[in-house]
């Protein structure tokens, strides 16, 4: 069991993070990197968080994935602060003995991080105007597909 989570302003090194998971002895490592989309006159994205709660929630989400898929390791890194188009926002990565578990757990982690980790996105336009991004029903339904009954 090797879970690593962080809520941080600093960028992260995807290669180093994946290398850590590759060293755990499994047969598959899967990852998802979320990046600030360009276009639409967007100057930057501002991500607000409750840092202590974010770490607690990311740990809980990660532990859930580790248990459900018997992962060898998982990594959940989420940035906050002002991020320019092209900047990395989030990294989710998993290591498992087989690819299906790694890929499924990776999808689960990003779906739950979107709806259960306390981060709020605000768009900052080229003209300086700001707009908080509303939660999307698609994100809720993506997260709900992993609920157990």
């Amino acid at each position: 069991m090797s879970l690593r989570v962080a809520a941080q302003e600093a960028d992260f090194d995807v290669g180093a993070e994946l290398a850590r998971l590759e060293s755990l002895g499994g047969g598959g490592v899967a990852s998802f990197t979320g990046v600030v989309r360009g276009g639409d006159g967007l100057a930057a994205l501002y991500l607000e968080t409750h840092p202590a709660m974010a770490v607690r929630q990311l740990e809980a989400i990660g532990a859930e994935a580790m248990a459900r898929w018997s992962l060898l390791g998982a990594t959940l890194l989420h940035r906050h602060g002002r991020l320019a188009p092209g900047a990395r926002i989030v990294l989710v990565a998993t290591a498992a003995r087989h690819r299906a578990a790694a890929l499924e757990a990776c999808a689960f982690l990003i779906d739950w991080a979107k709806t259960r980790a306390p981060f709020w996105k605000q768009e900052i336009g080229a003209d300086g105007g700001t707009r908080w991004i509303e939660a999307r029903a698609e994100d809720d339904s993506a997260a709900a597909r992993w609920l157990r009954r």
Binding site: T49, T115, A117, P118, W120
Partner: protein
């Protein structure tokens, strides 16, 4: 009972501060009670907290519903639905 109340995103902007420590009046037992009491202060509080359907809450950093009992909690966070990832 002193409760640290934290505000995030547009809730923070409308209220004009990111948090405060307040003495919650006796008789207020749950999250919705605190939110209603804050909203009754008017101004930015009323504007930010008037529509419960747009709000979410965490007590001591765990998500809860509006009917959650305060039960000695030390921190209440009030915010819009999260949009991370």
């Amino acid at each position: 009972m002193t409760l640290t109340i934290l505000y995030f995103a547009w809730v923070r902007e409308k209220i004009g501060r990111d948090g405060e420590a307040l003495d919650v009046p006796a008789g207020i037992m749950d999250v919705a009670g605190v939110v209603g009491w804050l909203a009754s202060r008017g101004g930015g509080y009323a504007e930010a907290l008037g529509d419960l359907a747009r709000l979410r809450y965490a007590l001591d950093q765990a998500f809860v519903g509006p009917d959650a009992p305060l039960d000695g909690a030390r921190e209440l966070a009030i915010f819009p639905p999260v949009t991370g990832g």
